[in-house]
Amino acid sequence: MAGREGAEVVLRLDGITKRFGPLVANDAISFDLKKGEVIALLGENGAGKTTLMNILFGHYTADAGSVEVFGQTLPPGHPRAALAAGVGMVHQHFTLADNMTVLENILLGTGSLLSARLNARAAKAKVQKLSADFGLSVHPDAKVGSLSVGERQRVEILKALYRDARILILDEPTAVLTPQETTALFETLRKAVALGLSIIFISHKLNEVMAISSRVLVLRHGRLVGEVATAETDRHRLAEMMVGAEITAPKLADRAPGAALMTLTGIRTAPRGNAPGLSGIDLTLRAGQIIGLAGVSGNGQSALADLIGGLEMPTGGTMVLHPEHSGDWSPRAALASGVARIPEDRHKTGTVADFTLTENAVLEAYENAPYSRKGWMDWSAAEGFAKKIIETYDVRCPGPEAAIRLLSGGNMQKLILGRALEAGPQIILANQPVRGLDIGAVTFVHNRLIAARDAGAAILLISEDLDEVMALSDLIHVIYEGHLSPAFPRGEKTPAELGVWMAGQGFEGGADAA
C-alpha cells in the first residue's frame, strides 16, 4: 500500500449485503480500490467473492449498500451502467459465443443497437492495437469455439479493454490456465497497471495472490475478515485468515497394511482415442493403505479408475476381489462389493446438476433399503441421509431440497465424499478428489480420507498434484502410457526423482513393451 496513500480512489463499495434465502452471501462489505493498484480478493469457495463482484457489475442487485465508481454511485442491477462507468469483468465462466468470431464477440453491444452497420474495420484495428499494447495475442477473425482456454480468456480481457475499462475484475482467472498461461496473464496485468488501470483479482490460490497483488482482502462466510498489504504478510498467515483456523498439514501415522482387498494381475484394457489403455498392470489394494498414483493426466489413469469403478472391462489379465466377487463386473457390482467412487469430474459424472442434494445423496443407493422398500422410495429416509451428510461433512447449502448445481465446487465435493464414505466402503477410488478446491476443503477431504484409511479402507488416490500424492500415500506408483512403475514407499523418492518417472524414464521399454 505504501506509495498509494494519496492515489485517487476509483471504486468504493459501501456496506454491500446480499442474501439468497437464508444464506447471507455478503454481509456489509466495504472497501476502496485505488488507481493503479491490484487488490486480491481472497476467500474459500462459497465465501461470497463472486457474488460480491456480480453485485458490483450489476448482475445481481444488493439488498443493501452502494457501489461508487469514480465518485458516481452506480444504479443497482445494470451491467450497462457499470460498463459505461469503466468497469470491465472477466467472468470465471467465460461469456463468449462459440459460433461467433473473436471480433464479433468483442463488438457485441459496444455501439447503439440501432446503428446501421458494424464498423468492423476500425474495430479490428483497435483490437489489434490493444492486443499489441497488452500482450494479448489472438486472431480477431478466429471462431471462439476453435480457441484454447487461455486464448478465450484473452478475448474476455480484450472485450473489457475495448470498452476502455479503467477497472478490471478478474474472477478466478487462473483456475483454467496452465502455468505458462498464468505467467503471460500476469505480464498483461502488470502492463495494465502500468497504464493506470486498477485491478481486482479474485482467487483462492495463495502463491498467485502473493505474486500479483499489492493488497489482500480476505472474505470468509460472506464477511470481510481481513485487509493486509501483501508485502507485510505471507502465505501461511493468509491461509489462516481465509480458513479462520490454524492450518495443519495432514499427518499420516505409520500403520501396517492389512489383508489384500483387490488384486490386479497383468491387467490390459483397450486404448481409447489418443489415451493408451493399461498394459500389464499389477496392483494390490490392501486394507488400511493409501496407494498414490502419480502421473501426467492422460496416461491411463481414467482407464484404471473406470476398471475399478466397473465402467470398463479388462481385455486381459485377472482382477480378483477378496472376498471374491461372482458374476459380471459392472458399476453396480462394484458398489455392491464395497467400492466407493469419488469421480474425477464432479459435475459430469459425480452429480446430477438439477437434482436436489437428497436425490444426489442416494444416487448410488436408491434401490436399497432404507431408501426404497418394495419398489417405493422412502424420501424421508433419503432426506435423513442427506441431512446427516450435510451436518457431518459441513456441506454449506440452503438445505437438502436445494438443487446441487447451486453449490460451490467444494461443497459439492463434500457431498460426494460423504456419499462415498458413509456407505462404509472397503475400497475407495479417489480420482482427483481435491481438484479446484480451496485450502479448507482440501484439508477436510484429505483428513477424511486418512481417517477412512485408519479405519481399514483401501484407498487408491489418483492425482496430478505430486505434492498431494507424496503427502498422503503409503505407497506411490507412477503411471506412464498405461504402464505402472514399481511401488515406492513414502519418502523413498524425492519429487524430482518421481518427476523423472512421470516423464517416462525408468519404464522397461516404455510403451513398446506392450
Binding site: N54, P79, R80, T110, S112, R405
Partner: protein, 314 residues
C-alpha cells in the same frame, strides 16, 4: 407431358415461386426467433391467424397493404403472448408454442363464425394481382416465372436479403445471434437478453402471419379452414435445412416448392393414371426429409436454442 416438358414450362416455375413465397416469409420469421434462442412452435397457428386477419380486413374494406399490416399485427400479438411466456417466465417453449398454435387456430375459427354466421361458402376478396416488371418479364421462361408475380412475392425475396443484412451486418443482428448462442455474453455486455429475445419473437411472428396472409391475399382469394395445412411445420424443418441461414433457407423453400409443384403436374401425366395420387402427395415430404438429412448434418445449431435465460442464476 413428361418431366422435361414440365421443367421447361414457365407456368411450372411461376408456380414454384408462388408456392415458395409463404414459406419464405414464415421461415424467415422462425429463423429470427430461433437465432435469438427461442423455438416458436406457434408458427402454424400464427399463419392461420395471419391468413384470416388479412383477408377479413380486406373484406371489411381496408386496402390490400393495410390488410397485410393487420395480419402482421395479429401475428405480433400472438408473438407477444409466446414471448412473454417463454422469455421472462422461461416456460417450456414446446408447450407454449403448441398452445399458441391451438389458441390462434381456434381464435381464427371463432372469429370467422362470429363475423360470418350465415355464410356457407366464404366470400372472395380481390387479391394482389401479378405485377409484371417491365423489360425483365419479357425474358423467355425466366420472365413469366420470376417477374410477373405479385408484390408480396417480391417482398418475400427482398426480405431474405434484408434479414441477412441485419443478421450479419448490423450491431442488432450481432446481439440477436449472440442471444441465441450464449445469452450470458449479451448480459455481460450490458444488453437485455429479455428485450432482444422478445423483440425477435414478436417480429418473427409478424413475418409468419404475413406468410399466412399470402395464402388468402395472393395465392387464393378466400379463407378456408385447414388452408395452412402444415406449412408452418414445414418451415420449422426449412430452418434446420437452411442451417439457420436465410439464404440457404430460401434455397430449401424453393426446393420444397419445386417438389410440390412437380407432384401436382406429375399426377396429370400417364403415370398418374397408374400410381395412386397419395404417392405424389407424399413426394415433396419424402424428398424434403432426405434433403434435410443430407444438408443438416453439419449445421451449427444456435447453442442456446430452447435454453431459457434467468438473470442471476448460477
Amino acid at each position: 407431358m413428361d418431366i422435361l416438358d414440365i421443367l421447361l414450362s414457365a407456368t411450372f416455375w411461376a408456380a414454384v415461386i408462388r408456392i415458395a413465397s409463404p414459406l419464405i416469409f414464415a421461415t424467415l420469421g422462425e429463423l429470427i426467433c430461433e437465432r435469438a434462442g427461442v423455438l416458436n412452435l406457434g408458427i402454424e397457428g400464427i399463419m392461420v391467424i395471419g391468413a384470416f386477419a388479412g383477408w377479413m380486413a380486406v373484406y371489411l374494406g381496408t386496402g390490400l397493404w393495410a390488410g397485410v399490416g393487420v395480419a402482421m399485427l395479429a401475428g405480433m400479438l400472438f408473438g407477444l403472448l409466446h414471448a412473454t411466456l417463454t422469455v421472462p417466465f422461461g416456460l417450456s417453449q414446446h408447450v407454449v408454442g403448441l398452445g399458441v398454435t391451438l389458441l390462434a387456430t381456434a381464435t381464427a375459427s371463432f372469429a370467422y363464425r362470429l363475423s360470418l354466421p350465415e355464410v356457407t361458402s366464404p366470400p372472395k376478396i380481390t387479391p394482389f394481382q401479378p405485377w409484371e416488371i417491365p423489360v425483365l418479364s419479357d425474358i423467355p421462361l425466366i420472365g413469366p416465372a420470376l417477374f410477373s408475380q405479385t408484390a408480396l412475392t417480391y417482398l418475400a425475396f427482398i426480405l431474405v436479403m434484408i434479414v441477412s443484412l441485419i443478421l450479419y451486418r448490423t450491431p442488432l443482428g450481432l446481439a440477436l445471434r449472440a442471444a441465441g448462442e450464449n445469452p450470458a455474453s449479451v448480459e455481460a455486455q450490458g444488453l437485455s437478453v429479455t428485450a432482444i429475445r422478445m423483440g425477435a419473437v414478436i417480429v418473427g411472428s409478424g413475418l409468419m402471419a404475413i406468410g399466412g396472409a399470402f395464402l388468402t391475399m395472393s395465392a387464393f382469394s378466400s379463407f378456408f379452414f385447414e388452408m395452412v395445412n402444415g406449412r408452418g411445420w414445414i418451415c420449422i424443418a426449412l430452418v434446420v435445412f437452411g442451417a439457420w441461414k436465410p439464404s440457404k433457407a430460401l434455397l430449401g423453400a424453393l426446393l420444397f416448392a419445386g417438389f410440390d409443384a412437380l407432384q401436382v403436374r406429375l399426377q396429370q401425366t400417364p403415370m398418374g393414371a397408374v400410381v395412386p395420387y397419395q404417392v405424389f402427395l407424399m413426394v415433396p415430404y419424402v424428398l424434403s426429409i432426405l434433403a434435410l438429412i443430407l444438408m443438416s448434418r453439419r449445421a451449427e445449431v444456435p447453442a442456446a436454442l430452447m435454453v431459457p435465460f434467468n438473470k442471476g442464476e448460477r
